[in-house]
């Protein structure tokens, strides 16, 4: 174990991948590596070690996606970093119509083992075009794995799995997580997809949260504990595949559910978790399911406006209290 920041953990996963597999190539390396907390000499060493495999491409998200996909189909294992998640919208047709379909549409003849990484979320001053949380859109596609890491250890292990996966995998990192530090196992390790993490055990209410919202859910749980409410916090970690079992089992234990995700409320990950439980664990429910999500508005620049619509621990506490005090 060692203490690392979230970004250094991600970069370590990438470095392991580059070292272990000559077919790994990083497109969009600059914005993934620079200003991310590496020591300058460590960053330099990476660029020097893989001069042909760390690539700084044109600002052409569409063809970068086609390039990564085509290269993956031809035997490589590209890692494509878009920078801010909205930039990937420039490549949406390439992702949805080409990348996601490669394996199924060819009747299993081909595969596209690539990772699509993007920085997302309400980040402070991102305004209308740099604050998106598009996870639900990727979840709503078919053929893409979807990973939402929430801690440095998960970031490293899940990213390593993403690069090793033979499927196209979307990894969405919340910008506000980048500076988070935490214990990370040493060496090269993976975390399997489809296994939720119980971030905190509890008996009174289940809070299912993703990405940065796991931190907020844990903060909320601490606050609730002071009032005698023990919240169980479940982090699905991957949305495709989704560990429905762990989520439903938790709700069967607690009887109450609050879902927390930073995406726009409508047709969100929060909606999905709620619908899942209303379908499969209805009988265990003692109260309505509440969602804490971003209201469907473009994010405004001004700090108080941004804060007003950002889901956080206080809003989670308020939702839980509504359920437990009813």
């Amino acid at each position: 174990m060692s203490q690392k920041s979230f970004t250094v953990a991600m970069i370590d996963a990438l470095a392991h991948s580059l070292k272990n597999d000559p077919n790994v190539v990083v497109i969009g390396a600059h914005s993934f590596l620079s200003d991310r907390g590496l020591k300058p000499e460590d960053e330099r060493a990476l660029w020097d070690a893989f001069p042909d495999r760390l690539i700084d491409p044109p600002t052409s998200e569409g063809v970068c996606t086609s390039l990564a996909t085509g290269a993956a189909m031809a035997g490589m294992r590209p890692f494509l970093n878009y920078g801010t998640a909205t930039f990937a919208y420039e490549a949406f047709n390439q992702i949805m119509s080409e990348t996601a379909n490669v394996h199924a549409m060819s009747g299993g003849q081909l595969r596209a083992p690539l990772t699509l990484h993007m920085f997302a979320g309400i980040r402070g001053g991102g305004a209308g075009q740099h604050s998106s949380s598009p996870q639900a859109m990727y979840a709503n596609s078919a053929g893409l794995e979807l990973v939402l890491p929430a801690s440095p250890a998960d970031a490293q292990g899940l990213l390593r799995s993403a690069i090793k996966s033979d499927n196209p995998t979307v990894v969405i990192t919340h910008t506000k997580l980048l500076a988070m530090t935490g214990d990370v196992p040493d060496g090269d390790f993976t975390i399997p997809f489809g296994q939720a993490r119980i971030a905190r055990e509890g008996r009174d209410v289940t809070i299912v949260a993703t990405s940065l919202m796991v931190r907020e859910a844990l903060k909320a749980a601490e606050a609730l504990a002071k009032d005698g409410v023990e919240a169980e916090v479940v982090d699905p970690r991957t949305i495709v595949p989704l560990d429905a079992e762990t989520i439903c089992a938790s709700v069967r234990k607690t009887g109450r559910l609050v879902t927390v995700d930073e995406g726009n409320a409508l047709c969100s990950i929060s909606s999905e978790i709620s619908a899942l439980v209303a379908e499969r664990a209805f009988d265990a429910l003692k109260a309505p399911i509440l969602r804490v999500a971003r209201p469907p508005v473009p994010i405004a620049f001004s700090p108080p406006l941004e804060a007003h619509v950002t889901p956080n621990a206080d809003k989670v506490v308020a939702a839980v209290k509504k359920l437990t005090q009813a």
């Binding site: 190539v25 044109p58 031809a74 035997g75 080409e98 490669v102 009747g107």
Partner: protein, 327 residues
């Protein structure tokens, strides 16, 4: 190694009879829409017959001809078009997405601009592996309307990727225009991006074959991408949604029988690459009329067998719809 004109003609005839069989089957089985490559045979055969094992091919909605030209099993191709388990993709792709990696086919994308985009990825991988294989993007003139085509041309030139951009231009001004470029020269933009370019009569298999050979040599020798525009005559049925034998079932004897060549389809028969090629080769003494009829009969026999295979192939089990999304 130059192509044998006789073999090219034979392949062109197979391509034509394949598409005619598709029309027949589309009517018999009430299929939806396919985009037929009738009229594109000369370029298709001349280009695809020159590819090597390990070359990677990316094609479009108008893909049948490319597959048959490259030597894909016509029975499996027809079965795929019928959605059968014995089809190339096991019925998962259909006409728009037929794939045969054993012959280098990486993808058929029905998204305009899809093939050109993916091709640079294949070329990137080939360059990384340091082979002298090439990636070949086949696409229509319409693809040049899409921003992705521009981005692909740029990145291929920037990284000197081994890719042949092969544009099948079937746009005729005024009627049935499939691209809307502000310039009439399709090579203007690739040229501006420092890509070696040429244009060729895509109805002439020899001219096309030579142009493709030059292009492939350029790319295999590590000189970066090449853009070749093949000017095609547009088959009047190119955009039909309900298939008809718009220009009649091809009758190879119209190549020399002037009575037949002066019927309602005279204009088409003048430019039809099959008849044109037959006329040229006969005039030059490379083949006889009887040879042409024999080659055509052989194509018909192959297609009858292919049809038998395809129609005998069962549909996949319904539950297969849920499988195979992830590896």
């Amino acid at each position: 190694m130059a192509l044998s004109p006789r073999e090219v003609l034979a392949r062109m005839l197979l391509m034509r009879r394949f598409e005619e069989m598709v029309i027949t089957l589309a009517r018999a089985h009430k299929l939806g829409r396919q985009h037929l490559a009738i009229g594109n045979e000369a370029l298709g055969a001349a280009a695809l017959m020159q590819l090597r094992a390990g070359d990677l091919i990316y094609t479009t909605h108008r893909n049948h001809g490319h597959m048959i030209a490259r030597g894909v099993d016509p029975g499996k191709a027809l079965a795929e078009i019928l959605g059968r388990a014995g089809g190339l993709n096991g019925g998962k792709g259909g006409t728009w997405h037929m794939t045969d990696p054993s012959l280098g086919f990486q993808s058929t994308s029905a998204m305009v601009g899809g093939s050109i985009g993916l091709s640079v990825g294949g070329a990137f991988a080939l360059k990384h592996k340091k082979t002298d294989n090439v990636a070949v993007a086949l696409f229509g003139d319409g693809a040049l309307d899409e921003g992705i085509a521009y981005e692909a041309l740029n990145i291929a030139s920037l990284y000197a990727l081994p890719v042949l951009f092969l544009c099948e231009n079937n746009s005729k001004e005024g009627e049935a225009q499939t691209s809307r470029l502000a310039t009439k020269e399709l090579t203007a933009v690739p040229k501006a991006l420092k890509i070696a370019c040429a244009s060729v009569d895509g109805g002439d298999p020899e001219a096309a074959g030579k142009a493709v050979a030059t292009a492939l040599a350029h790319v295999r020798d590590g000189n970066g991408p090449y853009f070749l525009e093949a000017q095609l005559v547009r088959w009047p049925g190119s955009h039909q949604t309900v298939h008809a034998f718009t220009t009649g079932v091809t009758d190879v004897t119209a190549a020399w029988d002037s009575a037949k060549a002066s019927n309602v389809h005279a204009e088409w028969q003048r430019t039809d690459p099959i008849l044109r090629t037959a006329r040229t080769l006969i005039a030059r003494g490379t083949v006889t009329r009887e040879d042409v009829v024999a080659l055509d009969n052989a194509a018909a026999v192959t297609m009858a067998k292919a049809r038998g295979f395809a129609e005998a192939s069962p549909y996949p089990k319904p539950e297969a719809a849920l499988a195979g999304v992830f590896v």
